[in-house]
Symmetry: D3
Subunit: 284 residues, 6 copies
């Protein structure tokens, strides 16, 4: 996915607005006039990689199909505190009803994009790529994976149907690495690769012999990773190697230098801090 | 809300599962037998207030209506690292398909309940109550507000239709505190109270004169809060007072001791750290 | 709610049209040409308060997004027999397919608005306000409550989640007025008031002592109501008082003069007579 | 339709409950215990033909799949004031949440069945049958047509796709009775009959010559109806004849004796008075 | 039905696209630029009756509301191999995403229209009409019945609610032709005719005596059909007669000449061969 | 996918039944008693590979949750004419309402499985595997791909999101094979392989150099295919090779013997003939 699917986006925004509005915004309906105009500005309150402009626009245009956002930056741009990210003008009740949701989305997505950018910078100059995981917020996977792309990293599987990743639980239940990989090789479509998680040398050998395309080295130190990489490269030069498990901004470069092709980081989506963005409304 | 609405819960879980499974779990389908049995255990990896057992059970029973969870603790109980929270047994493919979503939900909800418990403890012995905000994850408000209750705090509005809260933007657009409060008094149903956000003394006086039921003191220091509380108590003994804006675990007790009735804390839902919980699967 | 929610309105109209059209209007499809033009006029056949113009327009524009209604009056206006309320022109098949539903809605909503207006006039000059109840037609609550507003009265709860109203059944099951009111005070959000239904003096005293914000005097005569009002005003000047139960156009003024703040009238929605409105179609 | 479609019924009940409950019944949740038991009885407060027992049961079993109603009469039975129609027992919160909707439905449907029974009795001994119209409440057509059957009358079209009925508007737009009937004869499926509305003798002749199967005599007095019936019987013995337009309990027998086969009565569904039924809840 | 219902069409197309696109077209997203323009042409590769232009346009305009098709022929026109049926231009990703579905629909619908046209031609000059059956593809009935109309034949029932057709199974379970027809006569609405399937002379007599409006002669040879037609015409001149069961292009004229009014042909929808149509895309 | 997803299956069956039943089966409702019992048997009328038993059961159990099918064979078994495939007993109205849909599905799916089995047999003893395409019936892809598996072949992509397949249109718009393959290599997730369609030697070389994992040889004769296979095996032994385009039962073995790994056959789903199966109902 390089682009957000508009249909899916609007359907989600509609249900998020429904969650917040219920039978209607009784504060605005009881304090303002129906046709009152207003304008609003999104302002960054700290340094960040901006993400979520399309989502914010979708919030307002769901409430009023005429409503648009004029953005001064693009998703993926870095801005400093004080930067006016975007502005919009229209009916006051639309701005007030959409404010909270638009902020909730932009703050979270910008947080993910910003953290991702830090990880990507940390491995600059190496051959390793940062990828995300399935540890996303239930219901927000599409948006959160888009924020990861915006930050400069790559996406791992979008769901259980989007790739074969044989984990320790599968291996235990199938009765061993060779059996699990062998079965997968035979059963999945010819367009899918087979990835398998291993944590020790013997499993690595077994996986490669059974024809695994990608090996995930799970919860290894950078040193252990380096040894397993050496071994794997000797056995099968074309196999992709991925590090996974507890990788932090502090340790990520060591993994990259250990020679893996991919480093998956759950923190990109489950631990990103929401960025501080404000929305100022004025009479228009 | 004291209870989770089962219908709404199941409908959400169904769409979260759809997001993750798409056309089906191709790894499990290609490595395991259809009828293979397994059992799994949820284990706390750190000290936490548990929350989300019903949600986790809903994940598995959506996949297989026979599947149940045997819980060894209740939502709201505090557990230590190593505690087996719950166990379940059934078809291996059901356990593997539901694992990630069940964990994502329990880790997040337990995180909110745990953080909430800390805030509640911090004000113990005072008359102040901790309440949440609308800064919840889009799509997860019902579950996150339930986690706040589980942690021991109270819920603020569930949505824009669930209470009148006149903020600075409304006041600016309406043309002043008195106008905004006066209009709201007349327009909203007789079962609703009127809350208004003020940050200075003159606005506080105006709000009370206009008949506000609740005053939110926004972004004040504990000292400023104390002075405004004194003033308000003198003018209108029955008006409820709420502190809001940037309250932390460090500062919350000072606000409580400043004499407010309610302290709203956005961090309960937007900044709770996911708790570390694992799910171990074995052949059964 | 002061405004109709457009999204909700269109979604309802869509399902009402589906109910009536099924696989399509076979009479029109078999007797007319596809592109035939026509014009139609809505004509009042008796004196009434008009209500439902937006709903009627939504019917036609759901069938053809270009279709609009030119209205000669506004919702809430009183018209005499013979008045052309609105006109529309477009494709004949659209007019014929929407005619029945548009009339069903306008006739019912105008009936509610007209009856409401009569109740409101009957209490003119007193301090009492007329409010509706939850005795609305299943599926039409939003529209019927809008018609009540159009007629000049106020809305009571929109649903069970929109206010605390402790009735005799709750009191019996909870074990008394004081228990029920006390529990509600503690459990509901701080933005909600607590209303309780009482029918005798001792319960009234108990309710006020327990902190009820609103007292509903159920099924009392105007005289009994007057006595209870006197008592309540003496005990708690700020408590709101509501009369309820079998109030008619004949008795409503007596209740108003007995001093209550609110009079709830189920008849507004469950007993309003449909107004007589016709829709005349001509070739255009 | 002789039977209620269960799937459609439950889907409607679900949306009616959603309309009333929103985020949940805050009164019951804050005043009662979650697991409290109760029992309730439906009691007729006046003489009526009972209708809607299945709908009422569907309300409670949607809230709790275990909940059932024990009925002491069947839909279509006549009962006197004071009769206990049905009883149910279960969780108090389920009974309280479903009470209003169950009553709203039973009261309305019993009203329609009762009025229908009166019309049916009024024509007893003649060859005429009472039928309903499309003047039903938007969203409730299936249930209201079922109530008409329960009362002893027959159903006219369920919707615009369920029969060809050429009205004055179609005739005007098509350019005459013969054209309209002729086109319909050719275009509609061979399983459908063609009904046409006429109000004068020349149109009646034209309609019969063009091959109409059924003639609707619109807004004629009983005397005019009798003359048109005589004429029609002479021209085409097998054509069905229907009276329509403003028929009341006072005039219906005169129409029946004028010799028509069918008398359609909009009042059955748009003017039936809700029957008085109460629901008494006790601790169980 | 003479016209396609646009709302229903778009809702189906949306779900068909969802089936094919899932989370998005990863090939196009990874090989082309987002804003790249292209144009495409639909070209007939063999002689056919074209059908499905509206459906194809709906595919592209669902993906991009601006996208339109310029058609050079109309549904129902016959074209030769090499004919450019229609062209469209717009975003390359829209053309590539919609190509397969648009072709799948046009090829299938044109196949049905083409085969239908052959059957219609085969009975030209007789009084018999060709009609379809319920042997349509699940989910595509509306479109396939439209293709039958386009080909020049007529539609039988659209579903089980759209006409009374008493088959051998009903007769066996009801206990005979007379019982089944008699019950149906009494129970169904007065706008519906009663059709009954018979295969021998005695049943034919019984059906006509019981008042059947239409007789389906099932699985008879043309000769047997001719004898039954003679008998029926003698007994009841106005009854419609339908041949059914295994009718082919080779035998259809013999049935028509046997004197029936209608010949139903399941093959129109379950055995039509998809027409060969290509879609050529170029840079624009 | 090795297993049918039950949730998705039931949701589809529900909408297919809705399409056929509309407001209800008026023939059965007017000729039979509500509680009448019956039993039915599915009988093969010709030799076939059976497929669709689960789908047929889902039809009946959607209508009545108690209804089950007792199958005498399994999906994938070959049966002779006259074989009773399955039987069921229950309410007559359920059997009659589900009969047509159950047959439509089983006949179509058994047709696909039977044709697939013929193709699989035709290449027995070679290394080639038969795979399907996206030329499935809109709305039935999941079921039709399941029938292909049942017949013994393998599935190609389930949709545009399920694999990268660069076709001639992509190549033309991207500006060449190397550009298109190169871009795809960089943009898609590491779990996806890249397949590209080529029809001449130079493109084959370019594709392999650019790193394609799979080469589709489109519309080549078996001889041309053999030459391209030789060339490809020399350049890149691990690349998978697929034949595609107009492959028939007559030519499929020649392609297999030309040395490709995969042969995709659109005819499996778009040209399979429905198998002849009957459903006999008796009183029970």
């Amino acid at each position: 996915m390089n682009w957000l699917d508009e249909g899916a986006l609007f359907s989600q925004i509609g249900s998020f607005l429904q969650e917040d509005m219920g039978r209607g915004d009784i504060t605005t309906q009881s304090t303002l006039m129906r046709s009152q105009s207003a304008k609003g500005r999104f302002i960054a309150k700290e340094t960040m990689v901006v993400c979520g402009l399309e989502a914010a626009e979708a919030v307002f245009s769901t409430l009023d199909s005429q409503q648009q956002i004029e953005a001064f930056v693009s998703d993926g741009d870095e801005v400093e505190a004080g930067k006016v990210i975007a502005r919009t003008s229209g009916f006051a009740d639309v701005l007030l009803a959409g404010e909270r949701l638009a902020l909730n989305l932009m703050q979270r997505l910008s947080g993910i994009a910003t953290l991702t950018r830090e990880f990507v910078r940390a491995v600059e100059g190496t051959d390793a790529q940062i990828v995300d995981t399935r540890k996303t917020t239930p219901g927000l996977r599409m948006l959160e994976k888009y924020a990861v792309l915006t930050g400069g990293a790559r996406n791992h599987r979008f769901g259980l149907d989007d790739g074969v990743l044989i984990k320790d639980n599968h291996i235990a239940l199938a009765g061993g690495v060779a059996t699990a990989v062998g079965r997968a090789r035979k059963a999945v479509g010819h367009l899918h690769k087979v990835e398998v998680e291993v944590s020790k040398e013997s499993d690595l050998r077994e996986a490669i012999e059974a024809g695994a395309d990608i090996i995930m080295l799970d919860n290894r130190t950078p040193e252990e990773t380096h040894q397993l990489v050496e071994l794997a490269r000797g056995l099968a030069p074309h196999v992709l190697l991925e590090s996974s498990g507890g990788v932090t901004l502090e340790t990520v470069r060591a993994y990259a230098e250990a020679g893996v092709d991919l480093i998956s980081v759950g923190a990109l989506t489950h631990s990103a801090r929401a960025m501080d963005i404000s929305f100022k409304i004025q009479s228009a």
